[in-house]
């Protein structure tokens, strides 16, 4: 079984991004803690488990600058066997279709039974690269899965995902693309021996050809500030009365 996992090297989710003085973008140089985007880790963990069960191999891919190699090494340490680095140099904020085309180009020849993506990256939250790659490779896709039951012959699966109306069970035939959500599994940090072994794996690097793009970042801003809090009475009954008043007169929901 051949499985691919597409990952993204992103700033750690606890950071408060700083905006450049000219507001042209987020100042990434001030961030020193990066990680594999959390949703991608569910796909990676699932891929490694499936490869183990079905005598398969996992290839991890990323589209990113030179620093993204760090995440490829971590993914190798978490159990992937091969890694492909599509290098974007200084280009940032790539539109989803552009990223999808770069990945599809590398995935085409691989004849992967399954390709995993996180359902979104936690920095730009495009939430579209997986399904776009599925269309480019003419494969079925199931988005945001939190459950996966692969058939014994590893040719199909039943995936579970949530919608506003409830949980859906979708049957999908391989080769397929799946995007992963929390609940699928519990990713585990790699062991030190695995980290050391991963350092020796040869990563395939390709330079991304990105032409001129019709979408450019004009500016970035902080969201508008909220007003100050109105603290209500410390007497419970009084506070409840004040709150109901506010809900009636100011919020106008009662």
């Amino acid at each position: 079984m051949k499985i691919a996992v597409c990952i993204k090297h992103v700033p750690d989710t606890t950071i408060q991004p700083r905006i450049k003085d000219d507001k042209s973008g987020v100042d990434l140089s001030s961030i020193n803690k990066f990680a594999i985007s959390p949703y991608d880790e569910y796909g990676l963990t699932e891929a490694v488990a499936l490869a183990g069960k079905h005598s398969g191999e996992v290839t991890v891919l990323t589209v990113g600058n030179d620093k993204a190699q760090e995440s490829l090494r971590k993914a190798l340490a978490m159990g992937a066997q091969h890694a492909i680095h599509i290098k974007t140099g200084e280009a940032t904020d790539l539109p989803g279709l552009t990223t999808a085309k770069l990945l599809a180009e590398q995935l085409k020849a691989g004849e992967f039974d399954l390709i995993f993506f996180g359902m979104k990256a936690v920095d730009d939250e495009l939430a579209m690269v997986g399904p776009a790659v599925a269309a480019l490779l003419e494969r079925p896709v199931v988005d945001s899965i939190h459950g996966l039951d692969v058939a014994d012959d590893a040719k199909s699966a039943v995936a579970k995902r949530e919608t506003a109306d409830g949980t859906e069970a979708i049957t999908v035939r391989f080769p397929a693309v799946l995007t992963t959500n929390k609940g699928l599994n519990t990713p585990k940090p790699p062991s030190l021996p695995a980290i050391m072994k991963a350092k020796k794996v040869s990563i395939t690097a390709v330079d991304a050809a990105i032409g001129e793009l019709p979408i450019t970042v004009k500016s970035v801003d902080l969201p508008p500030e909220r007003g100050d809090v109105q603290m209500l009475s410390t007497d419970g009954d009084e506070a409840v009365g004040q709150l109901v008043d506010a809900l009636k007169k100011d919020v106008k929901v009662l």
Binding site: T14, P95, A132, A135, V141, T163, R226, Q230, L232, V244
Partner: protein, 323 residues
């Protein structure tokens, strides 16, 4: 004649609230670009859809028939035929489980860029200016779009849906026959009837560790019922197994934008705040006066949620009954 296509969905017997938002945006964009609005929906019967579609500004309703069980492959096939006429330089949708699978595939078919989580759209010369969030809304990005074709999927509840009062849309039916699609919906475990979903809710009541335990959740439920609200939860109580992940609001749960958000017994860790800071009004109820949640709230009540909630529920019910 170029037109704007809204990729719509139904909910119960009418159009999905996010489809109404998309139609509202399409109509205003259409007015500036001198383009009509068309709506596509997967349904076997038009029912009252043409009237409602027309009310919200759609001239034509394209009905994709014959998809007995949802399959992204079937829907994409149906839309591919519709798009092949080249009539639609703009495709707009809300954000739903369906649109997340479909819109990126339409972008590939049209070889046009899709911009997701759109908060606002303005016409700028020959192009568009689009705002969307980064880092779960910690930063807002303004994009300049200079393309002849573009797809937009809207962040829920940023565009206020409004009807224009037009006449019923003309219906065009398209039979979509995809035999044995590679992916198909097999089963739905439906939630309790009448449950309000977090992303379209006007009011949300969320509980955190301050609720003390799962056995106290009936207090949250009673208050949510009194308010006609959807129920949410903090990551802490979901991880503790008190509430299901489907209720989680926050960075690794749902990002919500209700008119009114109650944070009950929730301290206000940044991962939770990013999930609800887009709410128009925030009410925080917490025992700890120093809880960070009070910095984001509009109204703060320092007190024990377990004593406050029943009083609040009673007061709200009384108010609704005309007291």
């Amino acid at each position: 004649m170029p037109a704007i296509l809204v990729l719509g969905e139904t909910r119960d017997t009418g159009l999905h609230p996010f489809t109404l938002e998309a139609l509202t945006l399409a109509r205003s964009l259409g007015a500036e670009k001198s383009m009509d609005v068309a709506l596509s929906v997967v349904a076997d019967d038009a029912g009252s859809l043409p009237a409602q579609a027309g009310e919200y500004g759609a001239k034509t309703l394209h009905l994709l028939k014959g998809i007995s069980s949802y399959s992204e492959k079937s829907v994409v096939t149906g839309l591919k035929n519709l798009l092949s006429s080249g009539e639609f330089p703009y495709v707009i949708s809300g954000t739903t489980a369906r649109s997340k699978e479909i819109m990126p595939q339409l972008a590939v078919i049209m070889d046009a860029h899709l911009i997701t989580e759109v908060m606002s759209v303005a016409v700028e010369g020959a192009g568009l200016e689009v705002k969307r969030p980064l880092f779960t809304g910690k930063v807002i990005q303004t994009l300049a779009v200079n393309a002849d074709k573009v797809l937009l999927s809207l962040k829920p509840k940023q565009i206020e849906a409004s009807a224009a009062g037009g006449s019923a849309a003309a219906v065009e039916t398209h039979d979509v026959t995809v035999s044995d699609p590679a992916s198909v919906l097999q089963d739905i475990l439906k939630e309790a009837a009448g449950k309000i979903d977090l992303q379209s809710a006007e009011v949300i009541v969320s509980g955190g560790r301050g609720m003390g335990g799962p056995d106290n959740w009936h207090l949250i439920e009673a208050f949510a019922d009194a308010m006609g609200a959807a129920k949410g939860a903090s990551r802490a109580v979901v991880d503790a197994g008190w509430r299901p992940h489907s209720e989680q609001v926050g960075q690794t749960g749902k990002i919500v934008s209700p008119k009114l958000y109650f944070a009950v017994g929730i301290s206000g860790a940044i991962q939770h705040l990013v999930g609800m800071q887009n709410s128009k009004y925030i009410v925080a109820i917490n025992k700890d006066a120093e809880a960070p949640i009070f910095k984001k709230a509009d109204y703060g009540l320092v007190g024990d949620a377990l004593t406050i909630l029943p009083k609040l529920t009673e007061a709200v019910s009384a108010s609704k009954n005309g007291a």
